[in-house]
């Protein structure tokens, strides 16, 4: 029998991971909700931002907070670049072409990263203490990123509900044409949305590099997980993605302790397949 302490620790770790997964899932969902295109290469953008933080902090000795800030700005810039260079030309194309375009970007980014930095794993060394609660050890390298991700999610919520641009983004995702009738140039809103999505990728990258090592195929680890979360929560559904992030992270974390890390993924897969069968619209199904 597993020591309940380990289970409790795994459960808490699951929550800590869930926060960052939520950033990824919500970023992807935001872009899909507004522009109606799935960025298959989204987690590879995260990978690039992780490399940026690695080089700035580990190699060039920048302070951590500055490196993180740079990642956020870089992420937003990447988001805009991807939209203008790749998405904008194919906005009217068939879905299959749009998917292939972002898929091609995935190949490109993973190979280019391999070319530039080889497949070596890189990570940032931070010696931070761990918090202790009744036998459970929680490394600060996980707690702090969780805290930041929650703050970011709150910030996103406020942005989308309280600001003009944020409300406009929500409006466009519901009715593009009606918003054009209000005087909004949809293209400009797409750029802002892409910047926000990229920003979240950048932040996620900055938070992840302190817990995981980066390599060109990092997207292969977290990509499928992000996609599963988005489908589980209902593609385009922000609240659903938030909930699904924690469900998935809990499954992986707890199963990882009871059996093995890989079994965690297997069980998450089974849950995913069952959920598709039971509730294809996502756990909080909302159509469109």
């Amino acid at each position: 029998m597993i020591d309940p302490i380990f289970l409790a620790e795994a459960a808490v770790n699951g929550i800590l991971l869930g926060g960052i997964l939520a950033l990824l899932a919500l970023g992807l969902n935001l872009i899909f909700g507004v522009i109606d295109i799935v960025w298959i290469a989204y987690v590879d953008l995260v990978m690039l931002c992780m490399y940026l933080v690695y080089f700035l902090v580990q190699v060039y000795g920048w302070p951590v907070w500055l490196g993180g800030l740079a990642a956020i700005v870089f992420g937003a810039a990447l988001g805009v670049a991807v939209h203008l260079l790749i998405i904008s030309p194919i906005l009217g194309s068939a879905p299959i072409n749009q998917l292939l375009a972002t898929g091609g970007l995935l190949f490109f980014l993973q190979s280019f990263a391999t070319f530039l930095w080889t497949t070596d794993h890189r990570s940032v060394r931070l010696s931070l203490p761990s918090l202790e609660f009744g036998g459970i050890f929680l490394p600060l390298t996980r707690v702090i990123p969780f805290g930041i991700s929650i703050l970011a999610l709150i910030g996103l919520y406020l942005f989308l509900t309280r600001t003009f641009v944020g409300t406009a983004i929500r409006a466009v995702s519901q009715d593009r044409e009606a918003m054009a009738l209000m005087g909004a140039n949809p293209r400009r809103i797409y750029v802002v949305t892409s910047a926000v999505g990229g920003l979240m990728a950048g932040l996620a990258g900055a938070l992840l590099i302190f817990q995981y090592s980066v390599h060109p195929f990092f997207g292969g680890q977290f990509g499928p997980l992000t996609f599963m979360i988005c489908v589980l929560g209902g593609l385009g559904n922000m609240v659903g993605a938030f909930v699904a992030s924690f469900i998935m992270s809990e499954i992986i974390s707890i199963a990882g302790v009871v059996w093995s890390t890989e079994m965690g993924y297997v069980i998450a897969f089974v849950v995913f397949i069952v959920m598709i069968f039971a509730r294809p619209g996502g756990i909080l199904a909302r159509r469109g």
């Binding site: 970007l105 599963m228 489908v231 993924y265």
Partner: protein, 326 residues
């Protein structure tokens, strides 16, 4: 005229292995076999793709087929003829499980692409996770049967594989033609146009969608078995996951999704391209070949959205003055 050309092409393909090739024969046969098998797989994918069911997870079916047959042979000595059937059945079940809710609840377009992508990736993760019997990321080699064996589908001579692949490829074309001419095709097109209208005139939308998905999946699995038998080695990254799934889709779209030879043309071109890049770069600049491949993929999709067939047809149409007034 077209029929004559077709027969000439088939005849050429039949005698090709017997022609002298200045010592390059082994290499040419190797590439030709790959082109034939992957064209077959591409054709299988296009059965779904042409009706708007864009799957980005065909790697799942490929992997299940390949690993199924190889592992059954390695562990139980089950002939890949039978192992392939078992693997194909497994694949059919997976396809049905995924297709049923998707078609009942009208999961289409990007959403469907993402669901299938997730499934494909998960199969890959599963293979890696169960490394004790699947070999994980290192892959697994086919246990040698010790000599040529029809039962074990292992041959020393590439030419045997070549003819087998040719037969497979032709069989794929035959299936494609049958589907093209069948009731299923009209039904699927109606569904693609307006699903509700199609349902209202009695077309069993769900049944057709599941049927086409299962057919496509099973054929893909068979392709996977064939590839595994030829290469005699399976690996989760070459036979499952998003990478291979995207490559299949790209080849078909590039060649032309709606034409019988579209997948073949596209596959031949993409394999030729990647072979060229691989040779040109060799071991220098690791990753650059793939980078260029990815870059060209993006460029092609933006500037040649209808693929080669589609663009050629458009170009021809523009040369010929329109005879019908708008």
């Amino acid at each position: 005229m077209a029929r004559l050309l077709g027969l000439a092409l088939v005849a050429l393909l039949l005698v090709a292995p017997l022609l002298p090739m200045a010592g390059m024969k082994q290499y040419v046969l190797h590439v030709a076999i790959q082109v034939l098998i992957w064209s077959f797989i591409g054709g299988a994918w296009s059965l779904m793709g042409r009706f708007g069911l864009v799957s980005l997870g065909h790697g799942a079916f490929l992997g299940l087929g390949a690993y199924g047959a190889v592992l059954l042979w390695n562990f139980y000595g089950l002939s890949p003829w039978l192992g392939g059937v078992v693997a194909a059945l497994l694949t059919a079940v997976l396809a049905a499980v995924v297709a049923y809710p998707c078609s009942r609840f009208q999961v289409v377009g990007h959403y469907f692409g993402l669901v299938t992508l997730a499934v494909g990736e998960v199969i890959r993760l599963l293979i890696i996770a169960e490394r004790s019997w699947t070999g994980g990321s290192l892959g697994v080699s086919l246990k040698p049967a010790g000599g040529d064996s029809l039962v074990a589908l292992q041959f020393a001579d590439k030419r045997v594989f070549y003819y087998a692949a040719l037969a497979l490829w032709l069989a794929g074309l035959w299936v494609w033609a049958r589907v093209d001419r069948s009731m299923a095709r009209s039904a699927m097109e109606a569904i693609g146009e307006d699903e509700t209208a199609a349902a209202s005139i009695g077309i069993r939308v769900t049944r057709f969608k599941i049927g086409i998905t299962v057919l496509s999946a099973v054929l893909t699995a068979v392709g996977g078995v064939a590839y595994a038998q030829y290469i005699a080695y399976v690996n989760p990254d070459t036979l499952s996951g998003i990478g291979v799934s995207l490559r299949i889709v790209f080849a078909v779209v590039l060649g032309g999704m709606y034409a019988m030879l579209g997948p073949t043309v596209g596959t031949a071109l993409t394999i030729a391209l990647s072979e060229y890049l691989r040779i040109a770069f060799g071991l220098k600049l690791i990753g650059m070949a793939e980078t260029i491949y990815g870059f060209l993929l993006i460029v092609f999709i933006i500037f040649l959205p209808a693929g080669i067939y589609g663009s050629a047809r458009e170009w021809l149409r523009r040369r010929r003055p329109a005879t019908v007034a708008a």
